[in-house]
Structure formats: C-alpha cells, structure tokens
Amino acid sequence: MAETFDPGREGEDMRLSGAAMSAAEVHLWFAREVLPLESVLMQYLRNSLRNTAEAEDICQDVYVRVYQAALKKIPEPARPFLFTVARNLLLNRVRHEAIVSIEAVADLEALNIAKDEPGADRWVIAREELRLLQAALDRLPRRCRQAVTLRKIEGLSHREIAQRMGISEKTVDRHLADGVTALADALFGEGVRRPR
C-alpha cells in the first residue's frame, strides 16, 4: 500500500515525464494560471478586432483550446502559450474573413504581453481583488445584490435567503447566477490593476 504510485502526490514528476494530467489537476491549473490572464487577453483581442463584441467569443475559444492542450500536457509557462493560441485564432480569421487588424496580430512580440512575467506580484493581486469584488457588488441590481450579500457576507443558506426576500429558491438561484456572472467579469475581465 505504501508503495502504491499516487498520481496526486507525484504530480510534479508526471509533468516532467509529459504523461496525461488528471482532469482535477488541469482544472486547478486553469483557475490559477489561465483565468488571471483574461484581462490582458481581452485587451489584446479588442485591439485586434473591429467588432469588439466578438472578443468574448474568441476568448472562450482560446480557453477551450488551451484547456484541451492542457489535458494532454500542461503548457508552462501559460502566458506565451495562451497568446500564441490567441494569435493563431486571429490569423485564421484574417484568412477567412479579413476582419482582424493585421498590425495587432503581427505585433504580438512587440506588445510584450505574451512574455511570461514571474514577477507579477501576488500580494497586489490579493489586495486589489477585494476592491474589485466590492465594486462589482455595488454595481449589481438591487435584488441581485441583496441575494449575493446575504449569501457571501451574511452567510445565509439559499433557503434562508428565499424566506428573507420572500421569493422562491429558484429565483434565489437566478439572482445568484447573475451575481456569479458579474463577479467573474469583474475579477477576470477587468483584471487586477496595479496601483500607480
């Protein structure tokens, strides 16, 4: 039993050997390394697309490809890989639809955003995160904000929230879902700004 190979514990060695990752490990990696890059990625996509509404869709496509690649082997560092995928997707669109601003695509290296930045200060990130969350909470519609506040700040259960607000649990779920969307956009889409 003590000699059994434990893929969870031996994750580091497995990565070196390039074997397939466990899905759970890929999920953790995705949340930790990829999602924080969303604001920079979105900025790059918006600069490169005439129709900025499409940026969200392409971002989603980039995520799917990065995720699929990671299931085979986690690409590290994540940042250059993510931007290479993004550029390839944009180049494909240039070939098919000619809607991409070509300088932006070609300038990826010059933009410097694809480089890995190990110095990114995680303290700054943690400090700014609360501010982003709070700002997003303040912007929510009233009932939605109330539901999120009762859940995340007051710590009530969905059932208690339903009673307190005089609505069904289904409606609580819907309010909270709107909250999830807004908080995710605030955390990842807006990203963490460095203080001046």
Binding site: V64, E128, L130, G155, V180, T181, P195
Partner: protein, 318 residues
C-alpha cells in the same frame, strides 16, 4: 454583449454554480450537470471560470459588520416603532447619536459621536454636517453668522452658501470661514487639518499666529500644529478616498501599514498594533471602519504575517 455565444454559455455556467451552491442538489441534478459539462469543453471552461469567481468571492466576508453593529441593526429591524423608543438608549449608545448637553456653558447645541460612530446633521438652510468617529461639535444658528465649534474629532461640511450669513467653523483659536463650498475639518490635540473639496474657504490661524487669513481652493489640504503650518495640494481621487468614512469605509491607496493601523484605531475600541518591522508595508484596499479584526486578518493573510489577540488589542507581527 449578452447575445454572444460565450455570454450564453457563461450565463448557463453561472446558473449551475448557483444551483450547486444551494440546498437542492440531488443525484438527478448532478447527472444533468454532468451531461451538460460533457456536451462541450466550452461548457467546462465556462464552468471553471464561474466556479473560480464564486469561490474567490468568499473574500467578501470581510465586509461583515461587527457584532455590536449587527445587534443594533437587528433591534432596529425587529422592533415595532413604539418599542423601539424603549430600546433607543441601547441602540444610540451603540451607534452614536446627537445629544443635547444642558449643563455646559459653552454656546451652541452639542452633537457628539462615540468612537466608531457617525452622524449627519441637516440644517434648515440645506447645509449638511457629517460627524466622524469620536467627535464633538456645537452649533449655533440663532445669530447672523452660522457658527460651529469643533471641540474634537472630524467633520465634513457641505455648506449652502449665503453671503449674508457667513458660515464659520471655530476650532480653538483657529477659524475656517466658508466661501461657498464643501470642506472637511479635523481637530486632534496636536494637529489640525482642513481639506477643501469644492469652492473656497478662508483659514485664519488665530491672533497669536499673527498672519493674514489663507484662501484655500479645491484640492488644498492644510495641516497646522502648534508650531508649523503646511499647505499641500492633493488629487481629487485622494480627497474622495479620505472621505470614505462617510460611507463607513477606510480607503487605502499605498498607505503604510502603520498609518492604516493608526486610522483604524480612531474608529474602534479594540486597538491594533503593528510590529515596527512591518509598519512600512503598503496597504491598498477598502475596509469597513468598524471591523479592525477583519482588517488584521486580511493583512496577515496578504503579507504572510501573524495576528495575536490579547484582551482588547490585536497585534500584527511577523
């Protein structure tokens, strides 16, 4: 934006996160969820994104009010109006309120707030005065001039200008005269500060100072001690942040940890102290004035420090 492909999938993912967070998650729902996830990797990445955000939103718990405040609010919510009067003494002692002092001889009607309290007074002319923590202020509107004496603490003034009825704030020897404006005045035993947000005020250091009144314009911050006087200009954002207390917030933008701790101690009976070696760390963020404990917890987490509570003091150390 909401009609993009990605937005639809994200909305669906958010709903799954919300349902999973709830009380009615059963085997049937689980299998519906599993098959939704299996439909496409786009569903999976959208779910990972929504789930990560919802987990990180746990941090919002630091905004939870302290227990004393919650009791006060619960009492206010729960009791009918008539009974509320009976507990008013309790509630007001907790959250702070204007009180009239009949015994003192100084002129004017007295308004005070306890440590951690906050109060806004609206005058008949529409002017507003917001009192910050641990503040005592007297008000006399009976004469030609509108007079305020700031005995201690900090107040923010939004004055409806009336050239016929000057609005003056007295703080010991010093006088601040409104010339149509929004400004704040803070008086501590050894330090006096005026900040102008809008319009104009005139500052008079008093007879002993033997100097002409100083005209101050928006952005000007004046700090006077017994022997020094300095006038600096701050950007609007910094001024707005310094007024966060009106919403019960302390807003720090690269404030040193030592200064942040000093600010918290103005608002709470429970005091914070910080080890000298950590005093220089830069703090960025928004915190509830009344929850020093949450502040200490977050700071410790962010900087990898430790907290220890002894009696009424929380020590932040390395």
């Amino acid at each position: 934006m909401s009609n993009t492909r990605a937005a639809e999938i994200r909305a669906a993912a958010s709903l799954w996160v919300a349902r999973k967070d709830g009380t009615n998650w059963d085997a049937e729902t689980q299998s519906a969820f599993d098959s939704w996830l299996a439909q496409s990797d786009a569903h999976m990445v959208a779910y990972l994104r929504a789930d990560a955000a919802w987990k990180r939103a746990d941090k919002l718990i630091v905004l939870r009010p302290t227990r004393a405040r919650r009791i006060a609010e619960t009492l206010k919510d729960a009791l009918p109006v008539i009974r509320r009067v009976a507990v008013a003494g309790v509630v007001l002692a907790v959250i702070g309120f204007a009180t009239v002092d009949y015994l003192n001889t100084p002129p004017g009607k007295l308004y005070t707030t306890p440590v951690g309290g906050r109060e806004t007074i609206t005058l008949v002319d529409g002017s507003q005065i917001a009192l910050n923590t641990d503040t005592a202020l007297r008000l006399d509107l009976s004469g030609k001039d509108r007079k305020v004496w700031l005995d201690k603490g900090e107040a923010y003034f939004h004055v409806t200008h009336n050239a016929q009825r000057p609005f003056r704030v007295y703080a010991g020897e010093r006088t601040v005269t409104d010339l149509g404006t929004k400004f704040s005045v803070r008086r501590e035993p050894a330090r006096f500060e005026v900040a102008v947000m809008e319009g104009k005020v005139a500052f008079d250091a008093g007879k002993a100072a033997n100097r002409k009144p100083i005209d101050m314009t928006p952005g000007d911050v004046l700090v006077a001690t017994a022997t020094t006087l300095s006038l600096t200009r701050k950007p609007p954002r910094a001024l707005a942040e310094s007024l966060g207390w009106q919403r019960g917030l302390l807003i720090f933008d690269n404030t040193t940890l030592a200064d942040a701790v000093a600010q918290f101690n103005r608002y709470n009976g429970e005091k914070l102290t910080v080890a000298k070696s950590a005093g220089h760390l830069p703090v960025v963020g928004t915190f509830r004035t009344n929850d020093a404990e949450a502040f200490a917890r977050v700071i410790a987490q962010v900087f990898g420090l430790h907290t220890a509570k002894t009696g009424n003091t929380i020590v932040i150390k390395q």
